[in-house]
């Protein structure tokens, strides 16, 4: 981070009466103009963190700084932060236009100025023709755009979005993903979203903060999070992963050899890590990095090679996920793109196969 961050959480803790610690000592910097995603399973504290930024929860400990200003005790209506709620919260008793104008009206913006700005905001979300409709006449996606226009018209320094795509169907979700990125680029402010859907996070954001049990376990760009997870939790939460437990046999020339009874083979890892020999370790391999070939393996050699039998094939259209049972009894997942329409017969349940992968595809995971 070269410039100073626009949002800084300093040691934020939130304890609810009854003993629940929702957020546990989180320190986080979010840069200006980022599209930042807080990702995690339900109950991990991401929504609480967002609400503290918006001002609807007060932290038990810690400070929140926005552009250098201490926001912690400031009421939500005085923060230069606006939020798009999960339910959109578009006021049902006002028209679309009145909804969008609301934030300007209540802060005393002169009437003459409100009209054109409302028009502009609605144009930006492509709802210009619906200004006089009531919310119950709009679809869910349209209502979301009203909520967006309503928030963006205030020109906040940061826009918060709570599970923005969860209520939309698949097609709408895809178009909305693009829409949100486009909007952010057009408006040029920081977006922070909260989501439990890793696809959502990865497709839209420039950086992801993965949360678990009130703490941030890893922050990074989507590729970093996906290809270099630093814990089993992150590896498993984002996408699928095959995990093998084993012991470090040797470390030389950047290659770590791990003996694994679970895998029934030796695993070579080229991960840039340097674990101590003899220590217990986990190795993860993403399903799409595995190659599956029919029949027994040619030649000898027992590195990164697992023999097994196809248990079942899940055909998903664009790809197939094969569940392979290894000789050791473990079931691993292999993902193959269905890149040909016709041709050689696909693998089916019961076929003997062997699975291989490159050492650079192995991920060393400690915890």
């Amino acid at each position: 981070m070269t410039s100073s961050p626009i949002i800084r959480f300093q040691d934020i803790t939130k304890r609810f009466p009854g003993g629940v610690t929702a957020v546990d000592g989180v320190s986080l910097d979010i840069a200006n103009n980022e599209f930042f995603a807080l990702l995690g399973p339900s109950g991990c504290g991401k929504t609480t963190l967002l609400r503290m930024l918006a001002g609807f929860e007060m932290p038990t400990e810690g400070r929140i700084l926005l552009d250098g200003q201490d926001l912690t005790r400031i009421q939500p209506n005085r923060r230069p932060v606006n939020m798009v709620f999960q339910s959109y919260a578009v006021f049902p008793h006002m028209t679309v236009g009145e909804n969008v104008a609301y934030g300007l009206k209540v802060t005393g913006v002169p009437k003459a100025e409100i009209g054109p700005r409302v028009k502009e905001a609605l144009e930006m979300v492509k709802l210009g023709h619906l200004a006089d409709r009531k919310p119950d006449q709009l679809s869910g996606g349209q209502r979301q755009r009203v909520a967006l226009a309503r928030a963006l018209i205030k020109r906040p320094k940061v826009l918060l979005l709570d599970e923005p795509l969860s209520a939309l169907d698949k097609k709408l979700r895809e178009s909305m993903q693009l829409e949100l990125v486009r909007l952010r680029n057009e408006v040029g402010i920081t977006f922070v979203i909260v989501t439990h859907d890793q696809e959502e996070a990865m497709s839209m954001s420039s950086r992801i903060g993965v949360m678990e049990a009130g703490r941030i376990t890893q922050i990074g760009a989507p590729t970093e999070i996906y290809e270099h997870p630093r814990s089993r939790f992150v590896a498993d939460f984002i996408g699928s992963i095959n995990l093998f437990e084993g012991r470090v046999a040797s470390v030389s020339d950047g290659v770590v050899l791990v003996t694994s009874d679970e895998a029934g083979c030796e695993i070579a890892v080229e991960d840039g890590e340097n674990p101590s020999v003899g220590s217990t370790i986990h190795v993860g391999v993403r399903p799409e990095k595995l190659t599956v070939v029919r029949g027994e393996a040619a030649g000898s050699g027992n590195v990164n090679r697992i023999a097994g039998e196809v248990l079942e094939v899940a055909y998903l259209g664009e790809r197939s996920v094969l569940h392979v049972r290894t000789r050791g009894g473990k079931v691993i997942k292999v993902s193959q793109a269905n890149d040909r329409r016709t041709g050689a017969p696909h693998l089916a349940s019961g076929d003997p196969v062997h699975v291989t992968w490159a050492p650079s595809s192995s991920i060393l995971l400690s915890s």
Partner: protein
């Protein structure tokens, strides 16, 4: 939902008792009253049905009209006070921590279940000249007197020779006080129900967009809970309007309400036709208020339906 024809026997068993009871012991009695309102007294007991409007016209006599207006006025003020006091209480209960809610609700409902007579009687002990409030004030007066004397001054010019008890009973004020006392729980419950059902995100959205608390209250909370507020107002105003016991026990000769007037016609004054007419006037006002409310809500529904087309 089935058609009744599919199971006429069951349908009859289920609905007939209620219908018959309603008809025989509610509609018929009301019908009698309606008929009598067009009658004339003939001697002490008999009433002749002459289809006269005299009884209704008598109600327009300034003497009686005054009582009618005062009833509306008193009931209105009491309802307003209930609304102003009840709203913050309903708000507090709605936003209280979950384990407090049932307790608070119970605390608010319990007085409602206590006998109306007993509650009103308890108020007398509190409000009267030799009652608790005055007793407390007298105690305060004596203490203040002692303090002033202690400071070397003469209390008489400041506080007077003797404690003057406040005449809090037997006037319109005490009737209003009593009506508020009796009907406050009636107002709190529908307000609470409406607030509870409100999606809190609306309030948060309003705050998020820059509105202050009061602005949010009037621009978002009240419009969205308006049906509940109207319910509360109606179920407070109508019983208050027809109140009999409260003005009877707490009111003086010039704070009589419709209820007292009606009661007198049927007991002491023995003028049943007039009482019947007054009774029905009260019912017409009730229906009018209810009709207004029904029209209001159906109008809202029709507007929404029209806009959707």
């Amino acid at each position: 939902m089935d058609s009744w024809k599919n199971n006429r026997g069951l349908f009859a068993i289920l609905t007939l008792p209620a219908t018959l009871w309603l008809a025989a012991f509610f509609l018929v009695p009301l019908g009698f009253v309606w008929l009598i309102s067009f009658g004339e007294k003939q001697g002490i007991v008999d009433i002749a049905l002459t289809w006269t409007l005299d009884n209704y016209l008598r109600a327009l006599d300034p003497l009686y009209l005054g009582i009618l207006f005062r009833s509306v006025w008193v009931a209105g003020i009491a309802t307003l006070i209930c609304l102003v006091v009840g709203f913050p209480v309903a708000l507090a209960i709605t936003f209280a921590p979950a384990r407090w809610k049932p307790i608070l609700l119970l605390l608010v409902i319990l007085p409602f279940w206590t006998n109306l007579l007993i509650r009103t009687y308890a108020l007398i002990a509190v409000l009267r000249t030799r009652g608790f409030i005055n007793f407390g004030l007298e105690w305060l007066w004596e203490k203040a007197s002692a303090v002033i004397a202690f400071l070397g001054m003469d209390p008489t010019p400041i506080l007077g020779e003797r404690f003057q008890a406040f005449d809090m009973l037997y006037n319109s004020g005490s009737v209003i006080f009593g009506l508020v006392y009796v009907h406050l729980p009636f107002m709190i419950l529908p307000l609470y129900a409406a607030l509870e059902r409100l999606d809190k995100s609306y309030l948060e959205a309003s705050l998020d967009l820059g509105a202050g608390q009061w602005r949010t209250l009037f621009s978002v909370t009240v419009p969205l809970t308006l049906p509940g507020i109207l319910s509360g107002v109606i179920i407070t105003f109508i019983p208050a309007l027809g109140a009999f016991l409260t003005p009877d026990l707490l009111g003086g000769p010039d704070s009589q309400m419709i209820g007292n007037l009606i009661e007198r016609q049927f007991k002491a004054a023995n003028d049943w036709p007039f009482g019947a007419a007054l009774s029905f006037l009260l019912m017409y006002v009730t229906f009018f208020v209810l009709a207004l409310r029904a029209v209001g809500s159906s109008r809202q529904a029709r507007i929404a339906a029209a806009e959707a087309e």
